[in-house]
């Protein structure tokens, strides 16, 4: 019995280890390929690089305009995250600490907008942003991202702020503070974990998003990193080290965030499923 159990445990461990290899090896392969010259890659596609070179990374940065795309991505994502913080904090405060007719309706209307998937509004958005002069401008994509972030962000902030005791609000009101002051000085400091979760969650999906970025920022100078990578592939599939270098650069910010903020990401990604 004991032997059987131990065998069973080893088998389970082996299975989990094997799955881990499938999730980690592709990334290792990508990094190793990125560090090899084109010739070395042909001779030695799987081993460690004998003569590591940073040429591919430098070339991807320079010639494939990764530096520029990276900058575009940072502008769009940073502005999108900040805007979403502001909009969702305001809405979350109103929905959690203010009593007014239509509160439930507003809450469900905001969540209900999730029924409208991005694909469905893609074409009118494209023509509307064109009319507003926001096509191929970062602001256009920033506004669209912030809008898409509203339902989940409002949901998250509302349920977090609901946990803040109302006595705090009442005491502040007695001291003569208005709602904006209460939100900024009392609520937001308390809600820092929720803001962190929301910010990282938004960073991840905005950074990774392709469809809207591709349609709204189609001109080369405005492109985000994912649009750059998605269209890089066709051109460079034959040069694997070069392609790998591009992929590695594009994945790097997200991998760093993953290593540092795993707990917060986990929280953001399980919101809604469990309380």
């Amino acid at each position: 019995m004991a032997i059987r159990r131990r065998l069973g445990r080893s088998a389970i461990f082996a299975a989990l280890a094997a799955i881990s290899v499938t999730t980690i090896y592709p990334l290792v392969f990508m990094l190793l390929s990125a560090l090899k010259g084109e010739e070395e890659f042909i001779l030695n596609p799987y081993g460690l690089p004998a003569h590591p070179t940073f040429e591919n990374l430098a070339n991807a940065w320079k010639y494939a305009k990764f530096g520029q795309y990276l900058g575009n991505s940072f502008i769009v994502v940073a502005a999108g995250v900040v805007l979403s913080w502001a909009v969702c904090s305001l809405a979350g405060y109103a929905l959690s600490h203010m009593e007014f007719a239509g509160r439930r309706l507003a809450f469900f209307a905001i969540l209900g907008s999730m029924m409208i998937a991005p694909q469905i509004i893609l074409i009118p958005l494209h023509s509307m942003l064109g009319t507003l002069g926001l096509l191929n401008r970062h602001l256009g994509l920033i506004l669209v991202y912030a809008t898409l972030a509203v339902p989940f962000g409002t949901y998250l902030m509302t349920s977090y702020l609901r946990g803040v005791p109302r006595e705090l609000v009442e005491a502040a009101q007695v001291d003569g503070a208005n709602h904006l002051q209460i939100l900024c000085r009392i609520m937001l400091p308390i809600a820092r974990p929720a803001l962190m979760t929301l910010g990282i969650f938004n960073f991840l999906w905005m950074w990774n998003e392709l469809l809207l970025a591709q349609v709204i920022l189609n001109e080369d100078h405005a492109r985000t990193l994912m649009v750059g990578v998605a269209n890089l592939r066709g051109q460079y599939t034959t040069n694997m080290p070069y392609l790998s270098a591009g992929l590695f650069l594009a994945a790097l910010p997200v991998l760093l965030i993953f290593l540092v903020f795993q707990t917060q990401i986990t929280k953001g990604m399980t919101m809604g499923a469990v309380k």
Partner: protein, 291 residues
Amino acid sequence: MVRGRGAALSAWLFLMPALVLLLVFRVFPAGSALWHGFTEWSGTSAPRWIGLQNFVELFSRDEVFWPAVKHNLILVLSVPLWLLVSLVLALLIHEGVFGWRFFRAAFFLPSVLSPVIVGSLFTVLLSPDGPLNHALKSLGLGALAFEWLGDPATALPTIILVILWGIFGHGVIVFLAGLAAVPKEIFEAARLDGATGWRFLWHIVVPSLRHVIEFWGVSLVVWSFTSLFAFIYVMTKGGPGYCTTLVEYHLYFQAFEANRMGYACALGSALFLMVFGLVLLQIRLMAGREE
């Protein structure tokens, strides 16, 4: 709670930015899409009203639409597999197998990567002379080496597996969060009663996690209809032929490759009909824990 008329006014002021954004960039375009579905419109010329013609073509003459729907349905049918994989792995980690912290991080890793990166990576790994085929050949299984994404028979199943690779870790952490909320005694009592293996999973774990499983299952189905564009665009562009075209990809293609904006809007309405009931269910499950 703060009451009174002044309070109502400030409440709506606080909600204003959210509501304005939603109205301008989500609700209005949705209405516009609905209307343009009844027009012929190239995007540059003025739209011309043609009644139901787009829909008639979509349902009766479009050679790609029904296959695309079929591919979407195949994805939906694979969702129970995705749930099961994530659930079993979450359970093993929850039980504290040796190295569980490492496994949790390793499984979660792919789900933070962009579908663009995942898709590109696997296009390389699965290419005819890529590492997978190379490994198969060196193991003496050369007969299994294959053009995974280029063959009509294997393209869609391969993409489904790649998507599973990209998403299963997300499911693992969702189920881990659910398992953390289940009182320890329930599992311990079941163990004492001798429940093991599949019986333990089916009769004890699944009922305790019912709500989480429902929510995650519905989320995955919605996601399979609306969030796979990048995988398809990067890996196969819907090919070979139309073997991996999904409804959302067909929409993108009609709009931005074929310049048939009106027709694509009609496709958008069809897509809306496929998902809106599911999203309502998803919202109910989310809000059920709130109200």
